[in-house]
Amino acid sequence: MLNNKGKKSYKGYLYLLPALLVLSVFVFYPIINAIVFSFDETKAVGYVFGFGSYKYLFEDKRFLQSLVNTVIYAAVVPALSVGLSLMIANTLANLKNEKLKGVFQSIYFLPYVTSLVAIGVVWSWLFNGQYGIINYLLGFIGIDPINWLSDPNWAMPALIIFSVWKSLAFNTLILTTGIASINPQYYQAAKIDQATNSTIFRKITIPLVSPIILYTYIISLIAGFKVYTEVFVLFNGRTLDGRVSTVVMYIIDRFYGDQDFPLAFAAAVVLLLIILTVTFVQRTIARNKVHY
């Protein structure tokens, strides 16, 4: 019996071995390594072991600008995306024609599955200052051509428009599914009470899907803080003197370009702290405030 138990125990580890090995080498070790070596002496400062990298980071204009850009992006894109998705999902969920609903839903989700890189290249063509179709269409309402991708003042709006367009797909799908899963009895009862559509939306739909709204918002927020590929592709690797640089871009620049590992690690740890804070806040809200 004892022997049997011992054998059982050993077997569990065998099944777990591949996952444990991969996660240890590529997740657990690197996270510890990142934290420990963020305190290492950096090329840029020449400080010995300590907070030198962090000190340098928060005095580095390049980092501060990347951080500000990322915060602006994360403040705007998720809010716009979830808000618009909610509006579309609610309209879609109220559609009586099931077949048409399915068609719309499949169309809306398409940008999620198609390559972000390919579609980013397409958007850089749409935004083209000279020949882009967006400027051509804006011409009809009397707006002069905008250099979306080279004018520092218009780069962030272009990035936001593209990112919202891309992220609507996921949020709309999740919210439509969420609204569709609300018990129809709530709506029937509201109809009997002659509630208006907007009252139904505010008093029934919003509270009942609030956990899903929070979920999509947090997922978008975390993705927002990690934004990289969208920028790289839309601007073909340029940052317009840092005007569209992001935290992840800064990390990549520091370690891949400058080979300054401690500084890159410190920036990565800052990103980690931001994301852990977001996750923690989400858990607290989900526990206390969201109506189920």
């Binding site: 059982k8 125990s9 050993y10 077997k11 099944y15 777990l16 591949p18 996952a19 444990l20 991969v22 996660l23 080498v25 590529f26 997740v27 657990f28 070790y29 690197p30 996270i31 390594n33 990142a34 579309i88 309209t91 559609l95 719309f104 499949s106 169309i107 989700f109 398409l110 940008p111 999620y112 599955v113 198609t114 390559s115 972000l116 890189v117 390919a118 579609i119 290249v121 397409v122 063509w125 749409l126 020949y131 179709i133 367009w165 996921f170 799908l173 999740i174 979920y215 803080f225 990690k226 990289y228 590929t229 592709v233 690797g237 990549i252 690690f265 990565a268 740890v269 990103l271 980690l272």
Partner: protein, 275 residues
């Protein structure tokens, strides 16, 4: 009352159609531009439909960069990622759901906690590890670091836990060992969840960008996504060729989507809400 309702319904359809156009237009414009001549593509006012269909743009794009090679690489990496991720997840999920061993719950909570760590924080060290292993410009560099995904392990474990334990004990009495039980009984039952995982891994792998950009330098090891951004710099102002290349990358996924859209959307919803 009747009339007011009609206007409301019409408005609803208008809004939904408008949004469908906004969603589809970039894809249409990509394909339309890819078939125009170098002159027509930058013509003002732009033509909505190409005057003549320049299919040779695709041929030119394919010779300007080794897209066929990128395509094969991407297929190989995606296939390897799907197979390895599914196997690793099945084994780990079985250990967490059916086997007893010391520290099981602790390891499981450690796995779950690791889901909060953004991958971008790990890439610096992982890049160093890959070069120390001399894995630069290899398929394993693109596959191995992402083989173990806690979300998929979690999803499968949830499913395995729903299967009645009696089945496990009955199989044991019949002389089936754990290995046989897992592959002959559990895995076929979990087919739905496994297909979902395949779809999620497939989409992520096909579209991955940052990690392959870092660990591949040789042109013959590039994936489609990195090949396209390199081509973006090379093609310069030849937008019709750039759009042809973008179409080449997008079409396989779009075709798969037309056939599998219900399964894909279902998979994302399940994966999304659980995660």
């Amino acid at each position: 009352m009747e009339k007011k309702m009609n206007i409301k319904v019409a408005l609803k359809y208008f809004l939904l159609t408008l949004f469908a156009i906004v969603t589809l237009f970039p894809f249409y414009w990509m394909m339309a531009s890819s078939l125009k001549t170098a002159f027509e593509v930058i013509q003002t006012p732009p033509t909505l439909v190409p005057n003549e269909f320049m299919w040779e743009n695709y041929g030119i794009a394919l010779t300007m960069a080794p897209f066929a090679r990128y395509f094969i690489n991407t297929v190989i990496v995606t296939a390897l990622s799907i197979v390895s991720s599914v196997i690793v997840a099945i084994l780990a999920a079985f250990a967490f759901s059916h086997l007893e061993f010391k520290g099981r719950d602790f390891i499981f909570s450690l796995f779950l906690a690791s889901m909060m760590i953004p991958g971008e924080v790990l890439i610096i060290t992982n890049f160093k590890t890959i070069s120390a292993l001399r894995w630069m410009d290899t398929y394993q560099a693109l596959v191995v670091p992402y083989m173990a995904n806690v979300l998929y392990i979690y999803m499968l474990r949830e499913f395995f836990l729903k299967i009645p334990k009696q089945l496990y004990f009955a199989a044991k009495v019949d002389g089936a060992n754990d290995w046989k039980f897992l592959w002959k009984i559990m895995v076929p039952m979990a087919k739905g969840s496994i297909i979902t995982i395949c779809i999620l891994v497939g989409i992520n792998s096909w579209n991955s960008f940052l990690w392959p950009l870092l660990v591949t330098n040789k042109e013959e090891m590039r994936l489609l996504s990195n090949g396209l951004t390199a081509f973006q710099s090379d093609a310069g102002n030849r937008y019709e060729l750039l759009m042809a290349a973008s179409t080449i990358i997008t079409i396989p996924v779009m075709v798969a989507y037309i056939f599998l859209h219900k399964k894909i959307m279902n998979g994302i919803t399940v994966g999304g809400v659980k995660g």
